[in-house]
Each structure stands twice: as C-alpha cells, then as structure tokens.
C-alpha cells in the first residue's frame, strides 16, 4: 500500500485533511439523524431500510475518519465523537433535528422532511462520490469506489420514496413542498468547501463547487420537469456555513446526545 504514496507537501495534506473532515462529518451527522428514526418509520420495510442506510453511512464516515487518522489527525473514534461543534465541518442540513421532541420520549418527527433531506443529500453525495472516484489522493479514490457501490442502493431507495410522495395525494404534495423548502433553505453549504475552497479545488481532489452543483441539477432535473415543477434553487451564500464551523443549535444538541451514548458505553463498537 505504501509504495504508491508519494511524499506530500504541506499544502496538499492540508487540503486533503480539510476535505476529509467535511466528508466524514457530513456522513456522521446524516447517519446519526437517520438512526434516530429507528422504530418510527411508516412501516417495517422502511424502518429496516433506513437503519441499514444509516449503518452504511456510519461505515462511510468511519472510513473518512480512518483516512484522517492515517494522515496523523488523531484517533478515528475520537475524531468522530469528541470534537466540539466549532470544529465540525458538516453541512447545516445534516445536523438538523428530525422534528419536535426527543426520540426516547415523544418524537413528532416529520417523514416528509426525512424523505426530502435524504433524497437531496443522497443526490449530492452521489455527485461528490462520483467525482472522488477520480481523486488525485489515491486512498480516497479507493474508498469512494467502495462507497459508490453502496450508495447505489441508498439512492434507489430515496428516489422511490421521493417520487411516490411527490406524485401522491394533495396532502402529501403539500407536506413535501414544505419539506423541500426547509431542506433547500439549508442547502447553501452542501456543495461549499468554505474558506478552503481555493485549496481543495486546486489539488485535483474533487470537482469544483460549480461543477458539482451543475451535475446535481442535471441529475434531478428530468424528474422535476416530468412533474412540471421547477428544480429547487440552491441559495447563494449560506447564512451559516458549516464548512467554516458555523452551526445551528441542533448540532450541540445532537453531539450531546451522541456523547451520552458514547460515554455510557465507551467500549461499544459503532
């Protein structure tokens, strides 16, 4: 393995590290929010699927944290569980709560929001992973090839749910429209590399922000056109940019819950 590793200059290592934090933290929070749905999805098949997707996504996060560990950033488990909100680089979208209430008590989670978030997030992840398969950083490209195969099934699942609810009853359509609005309000930093943009884009690690946005739009457009709907617009310049460590209170809440679980059983394999 080490034979094809070239000596990396500091600028390159910093760029890879920045990108890996964004990828790892995204999947980590997405997986955590997904796992809170356990036992609450509309029916058993949806429940099994969602928990399986969350487990896969945690596996993806673990791979990205492992690459960080290999680059000397520290122990992968600790990077995942014990970094404060200000050090996190996930997009705001992935940290948002599932709805009102705590999942151990009386959660009033919004399934329309879950489907909309997962649909747009997975479409974005697909575009990012496809691009990463060509990454100049070979260990990342190798992992991306593995992730792409699993993502295939995630995308198939969320495409199906999204399309069904979007072409369902008037109530469902209204709920989906509201959920899409919420999701898109938070979409401004999903394709952003934050203040690391120049560094990340100049090393051939992944496509540019504009390139990925364009591909994302191209992929979802046919479905929206078929329903005579506009493709949702990604807001320019996010109010808060998670890639720069700017987050909502939802992240603090999420991390507190996570570390509770983790401190209660530090030997648990996740």
């Amino acid at each position: 393995m080490s034979s094809d590793e070239t000596v990396m200059d500091t600028g390159y290592t910093e760029a890879v590290t920045s990108l890996l934090y964004q990828l790892a933290d995204d999947d980590f929070m997405y997986s955590f929010r997904g796992s809170e749905w356990l036992g609450l999805a509309p029916h058993i098949e949806a429940d099994i699927a969602f928990s399986s997707i969350s487990q896969d996504s945690m596996g993806h996060a673990a791979m990205f944290y492992k690459l960080l560990e290999d680059l000397g950033a520290g122990n992968a488990d600790k990077l995942a569980h014990f970094r404060p909100a200000i050090e996190r680089r996930n997009s705001i979208l992935t940290e948002r709560v599932n709805g009102q209430g705590y999942y151990m008590e009386t959660p009033h989670y919004d399934w329309a929001y879950a489907v909309a978030r997962s649909y747009f997030y997975t479409q974005a992840k697909k575009v990012r992973i496809d691009s990463l398969c060509e990454s100049s950083f070979k260990p990342l490209a190798d992992v991306a090839v593995k992730v792409r195969m699993e993502l295939y099934y995630h995308k198939m699942h969320w495409d199906t749910w999204f399309k069904q609810l979007m072409s369902s009853t008037e109530v469902a359509k209204k709920k989906m429209a509201d959920a899409i609005k919420l999701v898109m309000n938070d979409f401004g930093d999903v394709f952003s590399y934050g203040d690391q943009k120049q560094q990340i884009e100049s090393h051939g690690l992944i496509g540019s922000e504009e390139d990925l946005k364009g591909r994302w739009r191209m992929n979802i457009e046919p479905f929206f056109v078929s329903l005579h709907l506009q493709v949702p617009e990604i807001p320019e310049g996010p109010v808060k940019n998670g890639r720069n460590g700017e987050h909502s209170g939802d992240l603090d809440e999420g991390l507190a819950t996570l570390s509770e679980v983790c401190s209660a059983d530090t030997a648990a394999v996740w």
Partner: protein, 166 residues
C-alpha cells in the same frame, strides 16, 4: 539469523478456508472472495482482506478470527491482517463453492448482471422458481435483500449484487 522457516501461502489458504462469515457459517471468507492477498516472508504472514460492505459489523470479528486461525499454524511467526479497498470487493468475487454454500444457507447467490433499469433478478433459494417478488432491498444485514417466492410461498434472502459498474 534464526533458522529460516518459510510459511507456504498454500498452507495459509488451507486455514483461511476454515474461517467463515459469522453471519453465514456455510461459506468461507475465501469463497466469499474476501481474501485479496496472502503474503509470506519467512515466518511472517500478511493477509489482506477486502471488506464486503463498509459498515458491516462482522468485519472486525472476521479480522480477529482470521488472525487467530493463521496463528494456529505452528510455522507462522508474526501474523498481520489488514483491510484494503483496492481491488474493491464485488459480488462476482464469490466462487462457485461460495454460491453452493449460500444456497445451503437459504440465501440466493448474487445475480451476475443488472437489467437495463438497474434492477436485478434471482430465482427462489429454496425451490428455484423464477416467480419471486422483492420485499425489501435492505435485508437483515447490509449485504442481503429479502424476497418472497410466489411458488413455494417462502420468504428468502439474496446476496445483493455489487459491482463497480453501478
């Protein structure tokens, strides 16, 4: 230099055939296509495993079982097991013997190709009937799906096909 003992890769493979997937104990990790490489240097043995699904909780158990099994070889000294992602594990790495083992466990082996729309088809793992419906593409573990056979009315599982063409 100590007396030079050379561990043969063939002996290591013999041992690896006895290491099973903890969730499907009728198939060895070799027949699952998980063994990427066996490297021996004197009495030093290194085994490179290819993970099936990244979040699979069985991976750590498989790693430990592999390590312990190879250490049982009297001629083996230091034994290392590591995961690698290149080449990526794909379901076409499962051997013919692996397919038999899966069927013996009531799991349909992964189909070798996808249809044009990206879906795929397997026959019933029990009766071989082609009249089956997909119940849930996500099964009890990351690598399996749940199907229903309309002929023998059994619910059965199938290994999900995984390919770099996806």
């Amino acid at each position: 230099m100590a007396a030079s003992v050379q561990v043969s890769a063939a002996r290591v493979y013999d041992v690896l055939y006895k290491v099973k997937d903890p969730e499907i104990d009728s198939v060895s990790i070799v027949d699952l296509g998980m063994v990427g490489e066996v490297i021996t240097d004197g009495n030093h043995v290194k085994i490179v495993l290819l993970p099936t699904f990244l979040g699979c909780p069985a991976l750590e158990i498989i790693k430990k079982n592999t390590l312990n099994a190879v250490k049982e070889l009297p001629e083996a000294g230091e034994v290392e097991v590591e995961f690698a992602y290149n080449p990526p594990w794909t379901s076409d790495r499962i051997t013919e013997e692996g397919h038999k083992g899966l069927r013996a466990f009531g799991i349909a082996p992964p189909p070798l190709y996808f249809k044009e729309d990206g879906s795929w088809h397997v026959d019933c793992a029990y009766c071989g009937s082609t009249y089956v419906t997909m119940e849930n593409i996500f099964g009890p573990t990351a690598c399996r799906s749940i199907l229903y056979c309309k002929s023998c009315k059994n619910v059965f599982e199938a290994m999900k096909p995984v390919s770099t063409l996806m």
